[in-house]
Every structure is written in structure tokens, then in C-alpha cells.
Symmetry: C2
Subunit: 403 residues, 2 copies
């Protein structure tokens, strides 16, 4: 236990929304409400952008019913921001915190947010203003270091797995090639979740491509052809960060090749462009007639009423733990350590230094990707299933023996 520090608290949410970032928010609020060292609980609207503009709402007396609704709502209930504050920006934030008597700073976000916490803490030190700065991890990308996994990932992964489960059945009904483009520019964590949809040998997704394994267009097309020859259909999960052999993403190549038209008539760099481009390649280079492509888009991160139970609970507990840790440490991030697997899955919460989370991100480890670089291993499934929760049981009758 560090020395006792009494004062107000602020909580805020940064970066892309997730399905459980509000559960973490509620975890912070309810723990802060009970904590004798914390007086007022402010919410900064639109993250650091709201802080510098001094835009705060009062969360001190939110009742339990409201908190439950918020905890179950997707997206960031306090609004978000993409700003990446530098030292000066953070000094301005500290001035605002000082003015409001805020001693506790809880920032829910990814590695950039951990970095913001760090800079705010440093600037507070320079201004001789005592503050406890805590990072509460969230990201659907699951690419934070140190923590076993990130709150937000299990829910987005469940969305992807359920989408692929449905889409594979759709593709059985009307066979052809189906390409699904999934979020994750730098790491294949969310795309890997597509593999959870696969129960039987001939289930899709039959091919999965992640940024960690660059693939040539020739290989991509021939992979699809081989699966199609075998099953008469092929479901492909592709990360939006899929890379050509030269390690440049296809998305970047597409954007560079796009003819910019001031009237907006040609849009090759839009959301759907990569999916349509890949489908076009299959159509142009094979004899396969039915080729379809979808881009899951924001549905993956903000779909109302869909949460992984484990993820929502862990997200909330992460918020609570951050408040607890702020009584003992000057700064840090509330991370999870897995202490049991499979049916005995369990996590313990730990505090780690902000620097451990702030810098760099985490790719899919080699043992989660198959040798051919076009699929995901069972080791990944073992890792991910407890976070995602049980998936709906589904069935198909068209493959019963013909009579």
C-alpha cells in the first residue's frame, strides 16, 4: 500500500470501441464509488480530447440499474478519440486535472492509451502534482503485450466465429467461393477466431490468411482452387492486413493504385475494396463462377446485445482491479495472467508497469499458424475458446447419405 491519497477520479475511453469497453468503465465506476479515497468520479467525454477541452460529466452517483445497462452496451459510452497526445498535450491535461482536484486517472484503451497514461504521469511529476495513472487494457485486436489476452477480444472473436459458422452453412447451401475480410491491420488475432467456427473436417473456413504470413496472389488463388476442387466450395477468412510477398499490404497497394476522382465516382480504397479485389482475382484467374465477398466492418466491434460472458466479466474486473491497484501503486496497467486452461480456465489480475504495455504490440505466435501459412492450429483454439465461450450448435442435413 502506497501512502493514502484522497481526491477525485477521472475515467475515460480511447481508440476503437469494443463490445465490453463499457463493462470496464462500469468496473472502474463501481469500484471507485466504494473507495473511501475517491470523492467525485468524473467521466471525460471523448477521451483526451475532452480532457483538454475540460468536458467532464459526473458519474459519482450513477445507480446500479444504469450501470448494468451501460455495462451491456457496445461502444464507448463516454465517447472516444483517436488523438495521440504528446508531452505538451498531456501537460495541458494535467493542468485540467489539477484544477478539478483529480488524483486518479483511469484510461481504458490499447497500447497508445498506456503510453498516454505514462506521459500524463510524467508531466504530473514535472508539475509536482501527485497523480495515480492507470491503464485499463481493451482492444478487439488482442495485440497488447504482457497480458494473456485483452478485454474486448473474446467478444469480437465470438462475433467472427458465429459469423463464419453461419456463413459456412450459407456456403454449403449455395456453394461457391466466399471471402470474408476481418479486422486487424497488423496482427491476425481476430481473423484467427474464424477457425473456431470449424468443427468438422470439411467445415469452413477452409483457408485463413493473417498478416503474419505474407502470401503471393498466385499462392492465394491456387490455395482456393485446391480447396474448391476438393469440396466444390471454399470459405476464406482474410485479415484486412493481408500482405503480398514483399510484405506490403494489399490494402495499401490498392489505395496507391486507386484513381482518385474528385466526384467520388471511383472508390478503390473504400472499406469493401479489398474483399471485392480478392473476389475479382479469383473470378479472373479460375473457372469458378460463384464468388462472393463480405467485409465485416464495424459490426465486429459494436453489435448490440452480443458479449462473450467471460470477456464481459473479465473486462469489468479489469476496471475494478485498476482502482484497487491505484491504492498501492503510482501507476500501471491491470493485466491478466492465465492460471488454468481448458475446463479449469482461470485468470489472475496483476499490475504491470505502463512501459510494458505502452511500447510495441504482439503478433500471433508461430505455434498458432499452420505450416502452409493458410490456416490456424488447434493450439490457438485451446487458447481462444475459453475467452469466446460456447458457440451455438449448428447442423446440416444435405450431406446425409443419399438414398
Amino acid at each position: 500500500m502506497l501512502y493514502e491519497l484522497k481526491g477525485n477520479a477521472v475515467v475515460s475511453q480511447s481508440g476503437g470501441p469494443t463490445g465490453v469497453i463499457n463493462a470496464s468503465l462500469v468496473g472502474v465506476i463501481e469500484a471507485a464509488q466504494k473507495n473511501p479515497n475517491i470523492e467525485k468520479i468524473y467521466g471525460a467525454v471523448h477521451a483526451v480530447a475532452g480532457m483538454v477541452r475540460d468536458e467532464f460529466v459526473d458519474l459519482t452517483d450513477l445507480d446500479a440499474e444504469t450501470l448494468e445497462i451501460i455495462a451491456g452496451s457496445p461502444s464507448s459510452a463516454l465517447g472516444s478519440s483517436r488523438d495521440k497526445p504528446d508531452a505538451e498535450y498531456c501537460r495541458n491535461i494535467v493542468e485540467v486535472l489539477k484544477k478539478r482536484g483529480i488524483r486518479y486517472f483511469f484510461y481504458i484503451g490499447g497500447n497508445d492509451s498506456a503510453n498516454t497514461c505514462k506521459i500524463v504521469n510524467e508531466q504530473a511529476d514535472k508539475l509536482n502534482y501527485d497523480i495515480r495513472a492507470f491503464h485499463v487494457p481493451k482492444t478487439i485486436d488482442n495485440d497488447l503485450r504482457t497480458t494473456d489476452h485483452c478485454p474486448g477480444y473474446g467478444t469480437a472473436a465470438q462475433f467472427v466465429a458465429r459469423a463464419l459458422k453461419g456463413d459456412d452453412l450459407d456456403n454449403r447451401a449455395l456453394p461457391g467461393v466466399k471471402i470474408d475480410v476481418i479486422m486487424g491491420r497488423d496482427a491476425g488475432w481476430l481473423t484467427a477466431a474464424a477457425s473456431l467456427a470449424k468443427d468438422n473436417e470439411d467445415d469452413g473456413p477452409h483457408l485463413i490468411y493473417v498478416p503474419e504470413r505474407p502470401v503471393s496472389m498466385e499462392k492465394f488463388v491456387s490455395d482456393v482452387q485446391m480447396v474448391y476442387a476438393k469440396y466444390g466450395r471454399c470459405v476464406v477468412a482474410v485479415s484486412e492486413g493481408i500482405r503480398d510477398e514483399d510484405n506490403v499490404t494489399w490494402a495499401k497497394k490498392l489505395a496507391e493504385n486507386a484513381e482518385v476522382d474528385a466526384h467520388g465516382n471511383v472508390q478503390l480504397s473504400g472499406t469493401g475494396a479489398l474483399a471485392d479485389f480478392l473476389a475479382g482475382k479469383i473470378k479472373a484467374n479460375t473457372e469458378i463462377k460463384r464468388v462472393r465477398a463480405d467485409t465485416f466492418g464495424y459490426l465486429q466491434r459494436s453489435f448490440a446485445g452480443l458479449q462473450s460472458k467471460v470477456d464481459a466479466e473479465e473486462a469489468r474486473e479489469t476496471g475494478r482491479k485498476a482502482v484497487e491497484f491505484s491504492m498501492e501503486f503510482d501507476s500501471g496497467s491491470a493485466i491478466m495472467k492465465r492460471v488454468g486452461s481448458g475446463a479449469d480456465y482461470k485468470v489472475e489480475f496483476e499490475r504491470t508497469e505502463l512501459a510494458n504495455v505502452a511500447e510495441f504490440t504482439k503478433d500471433l505466435p508461430d505455434e498458432f499458424i499452420n505450416e502452409a501459412g493458410n490456416g490456424i492450429t488447434d493450439a490457438y483454439k485451446e487458447y481462444a475458446l475459453p475467452l469466446v465461450g460456447e458457440l451455438p450448435k449448428t447442423g446440416y442435413l444435405g450431406n446425409l447419405p443419399k438414398v
Copy 2:
């Protein structure tokens, strides 16, 4: 009660899958299992295409557990087909049915499937083979005539409403213009479901465009600008069948303007093209910086584990009723009549002539579209809510009074 006819039955599924078409399949199977006039229950794989190829599976003894799993699974468990059979095709089908002693023909599908039922029945008459041909309505498009609504619609509408509820919160967190393209080439029923996401005056979707109300690009852009000026953000739900003032769809215009490149480098007619095109128009003609667009794609019709309870029950009952009606009539379609609304919502099942369903489709009625042609009325909500079921409660805190 028509004269008693003993024999085998066949059931099959046609057209685009839905989230509850398998509930109808199970309804047919379980009613047929109990019916003393029906001996074997065949499933034709891939609809009429499987029938002419004599590809049948045996569903007679499927157990209750399997049936429950199938009833809860999205997509068409017997496979589907897009074939639209003519008289000759249907004569070949009748030959196969005759060979297998099939007297009961249950076909789950849209208006084209009702038409197929009709032709099969006519061809059987010509061949002096007695058959009972029944259509079991399904479509996410909700555009069948005579019936109050179609099994499959409530579930797809729930997906769209939940997606928009989440997306509106996402847009509150990171404000800008968000365009969501929703299925429905000819009628705006599914796009209208976006309106169910809206609880408060400033909730999105702020604008909704359906094929029934052509809109010029100028009007579209100025509508978005007006909403953005008022709320600092704008969520737009657009039917994939959105039309220009000349009544030609933008999708068609895009496809015609697409430069076809044999290497697949340019894809303007893909799934994501319309969304990206509309986003491009907003970017090019306004000062708004953050403009995003998603196309919901197949997720709308085949998402594992998502069903409207009422829709799933009605779909199943529709299947059961078709079997019941086939004991009393030579042919027909099992339709629903609404006999209570609001909290007293209730339907009754009726048999109607195939011809009443087979020809033409049903647009959104005028009273469901607002005067400006860019929104959906409360009358629609009253119609649709019982079919969709209760939506998740969500909340936002960023609009609390600033302190």
C-alpha cells in the same frame, strides 16, 4: 378434408437462406412424422436441382435432438438452388417424385418457389399423377403478397436493428458520417428495420433510404449535410436497391460504369462498391472528414445463434400448418394473418392459393415511409416490433450534462 392420399413426402428449400428457414423445415418434418398418411419423408438436396438429379436424403427418423439443432441453425440445411424451373424441368421433377411414390411436395421459399409449386402441380395433373403441392413462405425480404409478413423477416430485421443500435453508439463515440448498406434490391422492408434501433430523437439512423423512394445524389448529400450540421454526426441506412431519380439503381449505374479489367484489378461492381461509392460522394461534396461505410452482406441472413423468438416459432408453425393443409387441399401456401397487435400480437394461419403468392411482390406501403422519403414512420415500428422481439437496452453517458 380432401380424400385421403397415402404416400411419401418430399421437403426442400429454395433461394437465399434465412435464419429460420430450417425451423420451417423442422416444422414440416415433425408434422409429417406424426401424420398417418405420410410414410417416408425425403429431403431433396439443393432444391429442384437435386430433385431432377434424384438426390434425396431420408429424414423420416430424425430424432428430436437433431431436429432442435437444425431448427436453431441458420441457412438451408438441405442446401439450396437459384434455379427457376420451367414446365419441362417440373415435368422431370414429377417423374422423379412418381418413381419414389412421393405424393406430398413441400417447398420452402419465396414467390418463385410458390410458382414452382404451381408448375409442379400442373405438370403432375397432366401426367395424371396425384400430388399435393404446398409452398412454405420464407424470405428475409418480406415481400410476399397475401401473408401479413414472411418467416425469416423478423430474424433478419433483428440483426439489422441490433447492428444499427451498435453502430449508432459507435458513431457517437467517434463521430462522423456512417453509411450502412442493407439487403433488399426491390423493396425496403429490411432497410426499414434499421428504424427500430432509434429510441431517442438524436439516435441514428438519422436517414433511411429505400428503393420505393428514388432520391437524387444532390438530395442525398444535402440530407446528410443537414443532419451533420445539427448533430455533428450522421448515421445512414441505405437499401442496396437505392435508386436515382430516373428510377435506375445506383448499383446498376455503378456496374455499367465499371472498367472491366481481366486481371481483376478494378472491381466496382463488388459487394462493397455501393457503400464505398456513396461514402465517396459525401467526401467529395462536403467538408466532412470522417466518412465510413459498411455493407452488411450475408451476415444479415446467416448469423449463427441469432433468431427472433417469434419468427422462429412462426416459421416452425408455418411448416406444420403446410402439412396440415395438405390433408385438406390439393395445393396452396401457408400464410399468416395478424389478428392482434401490440401487446396482443397474434397470428392465425391460413391456406391461400399458390397463385396469390406466386406472382408479384409487395413494396413497403406508403404509410411506412415519411413524407421526405428519407425515413420510416412509427406505423412501421408498430407493424415490425412484434416480429423482431425486444431489442437489447443500450445506453450512452457522453451526453450527460457537462459539469
